[in-house]
Structures are given as C-alpha cells and as structure tokens.
C-alpha cells in the first residue's frame, strides 16, 4: 500500500526541510521564499507502509499567479494526495492558517503542521495543541525540521489520518456568498471539485473562469460587486484565524534580536548598497584567497604525475596528457568553486539574499525588472541553470523570460577556472583585482543585456513586486557545508564525465595525425581554419580551438589550453589578447546545460537560438572594443 502525502504551505516555512527529514533526502533548502519551483518526490517506509511524499512550491493562496504556484494548485486539484500536510510557520501562523482554510475547501484529508516550533519557543510563543485541533477540526502536529521534534509524531499522524480520513467543512461564508457559490456550481463539469471552483469564481479567480463550461460566458454570469465578495471571503477566513489564535496561542512580547539590529545596517537607506558591494567583494576575494594554496598544491601534484608518466607511447600520452593534464587542469580549480559556494551558502541561509532584492528593486526599475529578478540572477554566480529555474518564481512572464535570457551573462562558477588560468598567465601581479573586474563586467553586461532585450525582444512595462522578507537565521556550519557539497559535487561529477570525454576527444585531435608536432594536428587545423574570424581580436589558433571545444562546457577551455601547450605553465598570452579573451568568454555562448534549461523553461526553440546569436555577437563586439582600446594603451 502506498500512501501519497503532499506538502503545501506558504513559501519558506520549511516544507523542503521537513521533506528532507521525513525521507532522508538532501533537497535544496534556503532562507528565501521561492526556493522550490517544481514538485519533488521521495518515498520512505514506516510501520510497513510506504509513504510517498511530494514536496511542492510555496504559495499564499490557491489563486495562483506565478508558474511555481500553479504547479502546487494543479497538483492539489488534479491529483489530490491521500494526505495533505499544510505546513504553517509557528512564528507567523496567520497566513499559513489562511491557506489551510483554503485547502480545506478542496475537500482534502488535511494535517496542520506548525513548523519551526524551536524558534517559536525561543521567542516565547506557545500553542495549545488540543484547542487548535478542536477549532480547526484537523489533526495538528508541532514540529521542528531542525531539532527533529514532532517528526515521528507526524509520521504516526499521517498513518492515522490515512486510515480514518476526515474532511471537515469549517466555514460558512454567509447567505450572500453561499447562494452565489451554490448558483455557480452548475457552470462547472461534474469531474471537477465544484464547490472549490465556484468559490474561486466568486473570488474572481482567472483559472476558475477558464474552467467554466464551454457555453458559459464569464462576463454574463459574474456579479458586478465581485471584488467586494472576494474581500468578504478573505475577511471571513482571517477573522476565523485570528479568533482561533486568540484562544490557542499565547505570545509574550519578544525583544529585538541582535539579528534585527544588524538588519538596520544591512538594509540601510544610504549604506545598504555600499555594504552589499563590499560583501560581494569579500565573497569573491574569499573565493580567490581561501582556495589559492590548495589550488597551487593540486596543480603541482598533477604536474609531477604527468612528468612521471611521460608521453612517449600513445598510451602514456593519453594518460598523462589527455586525462591527467586535461582533467587535472580543471580539477585543480575546484577548491575555488567550493569556496564560492561556501560564501553563497551563507548568503542564502542567513536571509540576506531577499534583502538585496529589497535594496536593489529601485535600481531595477529602469531595466523594467524587479529586485526579485536581481536576486534570482545572483544565484547564477553559482550556476546559470539555477537562475534559469528560479525564474519560475517571477510572476510576470516578460520579466521571467528576460531574466532567463540574461542569466548566462552572470559569471557562473564554471568560468572561475578559466579566469584563474588566464589571469595567472597574463596578470600575475594583479590577480585578485583582475578577478573582481571580471565580476563587475559580468554585472554590467547583464544589465546592458536586460536593457537591450527589453527594448528589442520584449517590450514591456514595469511590474509589481510583492515579496516576503524572511527573518534572519544564523547559518549553521553544517547547513552551509551541506549546501556547498550539494552544489559543488556537480563539478566533480562533470570532471568525471563530460570533461573527461571532451579531454580525450581533444587529445585525439592533438595526437593525430602527427604526434610530434601539435602545429600539424587536427585541432590546429580547426583553429587555423577559423582563425580569420577572430583575427581582429588577435587570437591564436590555440585560443580559437579552445573556444570551440569550450562551447560544450566552459571548463573545457582550460583543459584544451593545458593540452595544446603541454601544461598550464607553458601557456603564453599577452595582456591585451588575454583581456579580450576573458571578455569574450564571459558572454560568448551559454553552456549546453543552460541552453537546455532555457529551452525547457521557455518551451520554445526560439529563445535558445536568440540566446546563442545574441551572446556571440555582443561578446564579439565587446572583445573587439577591448582589443582596440588595449592596443592603443599598451
């Protein structure tokens, strides 16, 4: 017997944290609303039953507007689970209980979970569980996904609720509304949950209007005072919630926490933004500095190993050049990638990220975007696929597509090895500065592209932003470490798969037809054949070939360079060509994984094509500019 259990609730209340605790998974958890954007499934067995959990994106109301919210609504409506857990934040239970009342209208088998009870206790908030149960008429469990409190009780409650379903009808909205609801029910097919849909119709929900029977014209049936009715319905729910909480929750006045005092500085009118840039600088500096000794050590190690094996026969050449030198040159930069994820982890876990959205919102007006999309783009410093996915949380379709299209210009961590390699060769004395300049350029190019895309591809107006700012949480080392490992291990996997394969392919193209001289290799032929395109930028054939191979994944640029020159240490690049190269790499083409994500998230081939064409042209123009200006100066 499989019992399906859905997890719904407001954003950021700890649904995924609970899911992880319940099934022993390590899904993406962070302290900002809108982390989960798709349904995530996982199973576990308990007392000889199989529990199949479905974690869902968060929402405030089942009148969904953004894509991620629609995922949750459609799931509850079209494939209702056996048991639905509504997760409520103990520190701000009102909104969660509102959603609970809405969910009960779907006639589901519901358990109310008050999560983060550890925080509530610390703040002197107490719940009377049995009176909550008697007013809400559903089982109530108080849990903490951090301490594990209430988790076993929740498991037992799931089994009990499954065996003895109860689907209470809690609220009567009064004759005016109830009559309308009853009247509207006949406009829907029997296959649907008619009461839910007609109530939603009275609330003016667009989705309910779409589901009307074909011959029903929405404009002819809807009441003229609909927005009044919608408010009456919401008022009725909130009145009920406030009444229940007055009886079942006690709250001693809480003092200002030190975190709130810090917030005064972080979101300060004048110094907030400078502090943000200072922190960014610190984070990238940390990425650079914290990993430096390790990077050097690994590099030397691989170099020794290559020398030891030599490359006299075809076999030893494949091992030492193709595999150790090719893959090793990328692996040696992995500590930097982990360091960056460590810094990003602190930003995401502490609750600072959405504050940046708040601070930057005004600046985003001119780009016809919101601070929320700024925050989404920041995630792209880890991996562009993350920001393309996270864009689902943006309500406005135009904003979402713009954000997706500019995401590739945010310099992802896969580009770190490339920059570090080039900087190490061309700017050995100004490495940290050059590294930071690349990030500034990346931000500027992203903003510029948003402007251009908004002008040409998607003309639009500015859009509203309603965003919750979660409370600060002290990021625990174990949480940040898990985050870092979850995100960073992806690169280890990549090194063992795509980068390994690509390195071997590059090795073949170098070894044949003439193993003695790389100038006569197939790789050189490809590079020389296309060199004329890049002649204005002053690129050698090695650079041209590396760029072509690197279009699969940026790290392969490093691996190719290392092989062309027989080790990173032997590469020669003058500062001007190096600068033009880095600028070109910053934008030139989204990696395959990002292109695939763009295609699936926009559901069309048009956007990945636009993305490739646009990014190739803009980076060519910029690199050309850099090399012209560079030649004048130097």
């Amino acid at each position: 017997m499989v019992i399906t259990v859905g997890l719904v609730g407001n954003p950021n209340v700890g649904k995924t944290s609970l899911f992880n605790k319940l099934v022993g998974a390590r899904q993406y958890v962070a302290n900002w609303p809108g982390v989960t954007v798709t349904r995530i499934e996982g199973a576990t067995s308990y007392k000889e039953q199989t529990l199949h959990f479905i974690d869902l994106p968060g929402l405030y109301t089942l009148s969904a507007t953004s894509l991620d919210e629609k995922v949750t609504r459609d799931f509850l409506l079209y494939s209702p689970p056996n048991v639905t857990i509504v997760v409520i934040d103990s520190m701000s239970p009102e909104q969660g209980m509102y959603l609970l009342l809405e969910t009960l209208e779907l006639n589901l088998n519901v358990i109310a979970v008050f999560n983060a009870i550890d925080e509530a206790k610390k703040n002197g908030i107490k719940f009377d569980k049995s009176s909550l149960e008697s007013y809400l008429r559903v089982p109530v469990v108080l849990t903490s996904a951090h301490t594990g409190e209430g988790i076993t009780e929740l498991m037992d409650t799931i089994l009990a609720t499954f065996r003895k379903p109860n689907r209470p009808k809690l609220l009567d909205y009064g004759p005016e509304i109830e009559n309308k609801v009853a009247e509207f029910e006949r406009y829907f097919e029997d296959t649907y949950n008619k009461r839910f849909l007609s109530l939603k119709l009275v609330e003016g929900d667009k989705f309910a209007m779409e589901l009307l029977k074909k011959d029903v014209e929405p404009t002819s049936v809807l009441p003229s005072n609909m927005s009044d009715l919608a408010i009456k319905i919401a008022k009725r729910r909130y009145d009920y919630v406030t009444n229940v909480l007055n009886r079942a929750m006690s709250n001693s006045e809480s003092a200002i926490t030190s975190m709130e005092a810090i917030d005064h500085v972080f979101t300060h009118k004048y110094i907030g933004i400078p502090i943000f840039f200072a922190l960014m600088y610190l984070a990238f500096n940390f990425t650079f500095k914290a990993s430096e000794p390790l990077v050097g050590l690994i590099e030397v190690g691989f170099q020794k190993l290559t020398d030891l094996i030599g490359s006299n026969s075809i076999f030893t050449s494949l091992i030492s050049q193709g595999i150790i030198n090719g893959v090793g040159s990328v692996i040696s930069f992995i500590p930097s990638i982990f360091a960056l994820f460590f810094a990003l982890g602190i930003m995401e876990e502490s609750g600072y990220l959405p504050r940046i959205a708040f601070l930057m919102d005004r600046a985003m007006y001119s780009l016809k975007l919101t601070g929320r999309s700024f925050m989404t783009l920041l995630l792209g410093f880890g991996c562009n696929v993350s920001s393309v996915m996270a864009a689902r949380g943006l309500t406005d379709e135009r904003e979402r597509v713009t954000t997706i299209l500019v995401s590739p210009f945010v310099s992802c961590s896969a580009r770190i090895p490339v920059y570090l390699m080039i900087i190490g060769i061309a700017f050995p004395n100004h490495r940290a500065e050059a590294f930071f300049v690349m990030y500034l350029l990346s931000i500027a190019l992203t903003a510029l592209s948003a402007r251009i895309i908004n002008k040409i591809v998607m003309k639009g107006e500015s859009i509203p932003l309603v965003m919750e700012l979660p409370r600060y949480r002290f990021p625990s080392l174990s949480n940040v470490a898990t985050y870092m490992w979850n995100r960073g291990k992806h690169f280890l996997q990549k090194a063992g798969t795509i980068i390994l394969v690509a390195s071997v392919v590059v090795w073949v193209l170098i070894y044949f037809p003439d193993p003695t001289n790389v100038e006569n290799s197939f790789a050189a032929m490809i590079g020389k054949g296309l060199q004329f395109i890049f002649a204005p930028l002053g690129f050698q054939w090695q650079t041209v070939s590396a760029l072509i191979f690197g279009s699969v994944a940026k790290e392969i640029i490093v691996s190719s360079f290392a092989q062309f020159y027989g080790g990173v240490g032997n590469i020669v690049l003058d500062p001007v060509a190096a600068s033009a190269l880095m600028v070109f790499i910053l934008g030139y083409i989204p990696c395959f994984a990002t292109l695939a994500a763009i295609k699936s998230e926009t559901n069309s081939l048009k956007y990945p094509v636009i993305s490739v064409v646009y990014s190739l042209s803009i980076s060519y123009i910029l690199a050309l500019l850099v090399s012209i200006v560079g030649r004048v100066i130097v």
Binding site: M91, E203, G204, A234, P354, L465
Partner: protein, 156 residues
C-alpha cells in the same frame, strides 16, 4: 491617506483596496480592510518599503502601496513632524547615540511628555526648544490622554 504616504514607524489600518493583478496575493497575505499594517522602513530613494502584516514582513513598491487606502491607527506612534500641535508622550527615538544624547539634553527622552507648539517648537520639562525638522522627524510620539496632563504640570 495612501499606504505609500504613511510615515515610517506608524501603524495604519487598511480602509480600502483598489483591485489590481496582485490583489489576490495581497488578500492571501492578509492585506484586507480592517487589518493593521506597520510601516517598517524604506529602501534607497524611498521605494520600495517594508511593511509588517501580522508577523510577516513584505516589500511593496509605492506604485502598489498607492492602491491601498489607510488611516493611521489611534494608538500608533507618529513622528513629531506628522502631528498637530498638542501634548505627546515620546514613544521612541529613531537615531544614533549622539543624536539621542543631544536630544536628551533638551529633555527629549523616551517616556518623556513633550508639547508641540504652534510654531513647531517643542516644550519640554526644561524649556522651549527649536529642534529642527530633521530631528523632529526621528521623534515618535503618541498623544497624551487628557486626564494625565495636570500631572505633567505638577511634575514640571
């Protein structure tokens, strides 16, 4: 008054909401007629601003906050620049240490009773002072109950 015009630090009560694309979400969060909202702070250039609804903090652009008609709650602290002349109790002072010290020398400390005069000067236990607009804005007060005013005179 519109929510976008409510002074920072004030507690307001929602009167009416104009329908727009985001009203369903606002209703879900609890922005409804009769509900109290606290104005917390503003981002650079005065937009967007942070508000507290029940115990959740949300960010709203002024263009959306304009659609929400509110009135200041009776017991809400307000900056001295925002109130009409009369007698008030200082609820809190939104400033750094130095500014606080300067104000305390004038007799303006949290809990003190002050009187705002018609010419926007402030009468405290130790005299009448011209505090200046910048500082007045940082002093949050609640109106004094009528029956308590004789006590002040005795104390002064």
């Amino acid at each position: 008054m519109k929510l976008s015009e409510a002074p920072i630090g004030a507690q307001v009560e929602v009167l009416h909401i104009e329908e727009s694309d985001i009203t369903p979400r606002l209703r879900g969060i609890g922005v409804l007629p009769g509900i109290k909202i606290e104005v917390l702070k503003s981002a650079p250039m005065g937009d967007p601003r942070m508000y507290r609804v029940f115990n959740k903090v949300i960010s709203l652009r002024n263009s959306e906050a304009e659609l929400i008609e509110v009135q200041v709650s009776e017991d809400s602290p307000l900056p001295l620049t925002f109130v009409s002349p009369g007698s008030y109790k200082v609820e809190h002072i939104e400033s750094g240490k130095i500014a606080r010290m300067n104000l305390s020398r004038l007799g303006i400390i949290e809990g003190a009773i002050v009187q705002l005069l018609d010419d926007r000067r402030v009468k405290t236990a130790n005299g009448v002072h011209d505090v200046g607009f910048g500082k007045l804005r940082k002093i949050y007060v609640v109106p004094c109950k009528q029956e308590r005013s004789p006590e002040i005179k005795n104390a002064g």
